[in-house]
């Protein structure tokens, strides 16, 4: 009975891990307001995984339980990072926000939010900041491989799911 209660309490702890990620994120972001938001979110997620898995190992010091906690905390941390990233980069979230502020927005006005090359320009600046691309003599070139590899995997997955265009390469 005691073992079962302990297991239930441990699962409740794991279910509450999004709160751990959120708390770590708020503390780090408030402590470093000028830092790159995505970099702060990544650090908060890494810290959150360490906290949750560490607490879990104290509670259930077994190999399978540790592996289980690492999988659950890692997956929730990954999902948390992408939730934050949506608030930072997703076009859909910006469109929702603009309509929310305006009450009603004509379709043309939504298109007007992304006038000219703003949409691509901001992404290029962000990727330069993240060290994934570089601007040399007015030409953008690949610098890092991490996001490029991720782009290749996503393109392959898009093809597997049967999207019409398939991977670009």
């Amino acid at each position: 009975m005691a073992a079962r209660v302990s297991l239930v309490a441990w699962l409740v702890l794991l279910c509450g891990s999004p709160l751990v990620f959120f708390t770590c994120h708020v503390l780090l972001q408030r402590a470093r307001p000028g830092a790159t938001p995505q970099g702060v979110a990544l650090k908060a997620c890494a810290l959150g995984v360490l906290v949750v898995v560490g607490a879990s190992l104290v509670w259930q010091p077994q190999l399978t339980a540790g592996l289980y906690a690492a999988l659950v905390a890692g997956a929730i941390g990954y999902a948390y990072f992408h939730l934050f990233n949506m608030s930072e980069t997703a076009r859909r979230i910006r469109i929702l926000r603009e309509i929310h502020q305006a009450g009603t927005l004509p379709v043309a006005a939504v298109h007007g939010l992304y006038e000219g090359d703003e949409l691509i320009q901001r992404r290029l600046e962000r990727m330069v900041t993240l060290g994934q691309i570089d601007l040399r003599e007015q030409r953008y070139v690949l610098k890092g491989q991490t996001l490029y590899r991720a782009a290749q995997v996503v393109a392959a997955w898009r093809w597997l799911l049967g999207f019409q265009d398939g991977p670009s390469r």
């Binding site: 859909r92 009603t104 999207f163």
Partner: protein
């Protein structure tokens, strides 16, 4: 904790993933977000419930004859849901063709690099925005009215959630 919990949790996620790929290849549902939730959060519930009477567990040779307790089934469900949440958050990058990732693929194919104008020429700006509006309408976050686009209740909840969330973090509302 028994290894069976890990196996059932991972198995439930894998089955959801296979079902998702097969379904999308046969014909991607138009309101894909809600069906994605159904596959990754609904299917594991059915499987976890089945393990209570030993259906999937007893089919694994070295676990034959056993079944999961209620708490173990809940633990397996939590694992499947956590992995499902991670996948659901990754899916938009593939579905909506993240412009950042598309830029990287173009640059990967051009070792000499590309100017901003050359990159822009490879995008249709209106489709980058128009497709997102269509998605929001199809998934019932936005409604089209004669005056323009308005938010539905889920859309208002989502917009308010992100505004509050970023406010607590001390960040201005943003989005791409």
């Amino acid at each position: 904790m028994r290894a069976a919990v890990l196996l059932v949790g991972l198995g439930a996620f894998t089955l959801s993933l296979l079902l998702h790929v097969a379904w999308w290849r046969l014909g991607r549902p138009r309101a894909d977000v809600r069906y994605l939730f159904l596959v990754f959060f609904g299917v594991p519930v059915v499987l976890a419930a089945a393990t209570l009477v030993g259906v999937p567990v007893s089919s694994v040779p070295f676990l034959a004859g056993s079944s999961l307790s209620l708490v173990e089934a809940a633990a397996a469900l939590l694992l499947a849901w956590a992995l499902g949440a991670a996948y659901v958050q990754t899916y938009p990058a593939a579905q909506a063709q993240s412009p950042s990732l598309v830029v990287l693929l173009h640059l990967g194919g051009a070792p000499e690099g590309l100017t901003q104008d050359e990159l822009l020429a490879r995008f249709g700006p209106s489709s980058l925005v128009g497709n997102r509006i269509d998605d929001l309408v199809t998934n019932a976050f936005v409604r089209e009215t004669p005056e323009g686009l308005t938010l539905t209740l889920p859309g208002r909840i989502l917009a308010s959630f992100f505004a509050t969330y970023r406010g607590i973090l001390g960040l201005r509302p943003k989005g791409g």
